[in-house]
Amino acid sequence: MSELRELYQETILEHSRKPRNFGELPSASHKAEGYNPLCGDHYTIFVNLKDGAIDDIRFNGAGCAISKASASMMTQSLKGKTESEAEEIFSRFHDLVTGQQNGTDNLGKLAVFAGVSEFPLRVKCAALAWHALRAALRGDQQAISTE
């Protein structure tokens, strides 16, 4: 039970119920889709880059609590960040959810995802929106898939 509570932290559940920055961004300069065919999670990430920084970021789509909360908190944590800062945060977030990092330095609120590392099957859920964001920033047109 304690591992489950670690996974489904109140913050995560709250974001999954009331995702922030949820919806389309018609003026997006970059966008990409992320899809997990295994469970049907499907999101689109919209980004407006201005002078190399994320001026605005939104997402829409549907999926499990972990993937949705991750997308929601990602948009919050990346607003105003440069592309390279975003890459850096993703890399630390990835280490966190795959259990390759002990500390949660500099991850701020994203530290609540530490519990995912005990559930290897759910790492893809936590990372889905982030992979889509990376594809959007790189200008990949193809929907990215976790499989």
Partner: protein, 418 residues
């Protein structure tokens, strides 16, 4: 003698599920500190000792290639392999053992029919008719064929309960329909299709019928002569046999007229560089050295099922399904997907806003193994406007206590997810 009405348990006293569980070593384990409750039988079933031992015995004592050696081992291996064919014939009451073609499973069986019978009989402008509840294995091979031939795939609709709408199905049977392919039991919804009615409707118009029997074969007695289907496809691993083995039943006259599927050893009678004479049935369709060990394992699984009796397994699972359906429906927010009047083995459900993937993780933490996702039936999910369901599917070794564990797990989901 007591005249009191017997409870279902008393009726099935000869079916001692607790004794039977001892035949399945994998069941006696804990996961995440809880007893394993294996409710993913529609994906694959566990294997009884009889099957595990048969494979082990073959490799320890009889391993050899079949149909070619003159030595003792080859003779024993050939006999065991062909005995399995006899067992499969009896299992579905085929008229002749040569009507049983061993293949990897249902998927390969359907592809075989699509690329042999289908390629010969379906032409430009023709139609293949399936239903809206099919597994991807009974959709994609037909899409490939239709694309190759310029033919059209037609789909008969299902109603909200998940039942085939027979009137609509019949209307779709037209002069261009060259083949009907339909599941006997839907893996996503549990619906049992009225195969006899379907074959009658199709045959009145001279159209052959392929039945996807992947889920039905382990759950109910199947008699292909009574169903009067032209092809019947089965996966061993869903009926307590190993993975990598299954079979296709086909009426002899159809199989005789079909071109071979693959070329190679065993499927030929004679070869020169000018001309090859194909072997007789069933070997014409079994090119190359087959999966001998697992075929023998399949034979052992059929023998095991015969001992227990599908006529006993069927009511046992029906009782579990009825109990589980009633219990989960008592939990507010749980909605069962697939409520056909004729149903078996499968309980698919959703829980409002709570995503099936989250439900699956929480059930797993309670030791309860279910499947979550689209169950290789995305068109079914689209029909209901949902991305996925949670699916509990029953096997002959499941118990009421395990249903109770599922129900406790679902209550836990509500507790965790709020």
């Amino acid at each position: 003698m007591s005249t009191a009405v017997k409870t279902p348990q008393q009726l099935h006293t000869e079916f001692d599920v607790y004794r039977i569980r001892e035949d399945f070593p994998v069941l006696a384990q804990q996961v995440h500190g809880k007893p394993l409750v294996y409710l993913d039988n529609a994906a694959t079933t566990q294997k009884p000792l009889a099957v595990i031992d048969a494979i082990s015995h073959y490799y320890r004592c009889d391993n050899s290639n079949i149909h070619r050696g003159v030595h003792a081992l080859s003779e024993r291996a050939t006999e065991a392999y062909e005995n399995a064919r006899g067992a499969a014939q009896g299992f579905i009451n085929a008229a002749d053992r040569k009507e049983i073609i061993f293949l990897r499973g249902t998927t390969e069986a359907i592809n075989l029919v699509a690329q042999t019978y289908g390629r010969e009989h379906v032409g430009a402008g023709d139609e293949v008719l399936i239903t809206a509840m099919e597994h991807h294995s009974n959709i994609v091979p037909w899409q490939i064929l239709c694309k190759q031939k310029g033919a059209k795939l037609r789909v008969a609709p299902i109603n909200d309960r998940g039942e085939l709408v027979l009137e609509e199905f019949e209307k779709l049977l037209g002069p261009k329909t060259k083949l009907v392919a339909v599941s006997h039991l839907s893996n996503a919804l549990g619906t049992i299709n009225p195969i006899k009615q379907i074959t009658r409707m199709a045959h009145e118009r001279g159209i052959p019928v392929l039945v996807d029997g992947a889920q039905a074969a382990p759950r109910m007695p199947v008699d292909v002569q009574d169903l009067d289907c032209d092809f019947y496809a089965v996966s061993g691993h869903k009926m307590y046999a190993p993975t990598g083995i299954g079979f296709l039943y086909g009426k002899a006259a159809l199989l005789e007229a079909m071109p071979p599927y693959q070329g190679g050893g065993d499927m030929i009678a004679s070869v020169t560089f000018d001309k090859t004479v194909y072997n007789r049935l069933p070997y014409k369709f079994e090119a190359g050295t087959p999966n001998i060990a697992d075929t023998i394992g399949l034979g052992a699984a059929i023998e095991y099922l015969n001992q227990l009796g599908l006529e006993n397994i069927e009511p046992h699972e029906a009782e579990l399904l009825a109990y589980a359906t009633a219990e989960v429906q008592k939990i507010p927010g749980v909605e069962v997907v697939g409520t056909a009047r004729e149903k078996a083995g499968v309980l698919s459900f959703v829980m409002g806003e709570i995503h099936p993937h989250d439900i699956g993780t929480i059930l797993d933490s309670e030791g309860v193994a279910v499947r979550t996702g689209h169950h290789c039936a995305q068109p079914v999910m689209q029909r209901y406007g949902i991305p996925a369901t949670v699916r509990a599917s029953f096997g002959l070794y499941n118990t009421r206590e395990e249903v109770d564990a599922l129900v406790r797990g679902i209550r836990k989901v509500k507790e965790v997810m709020g």
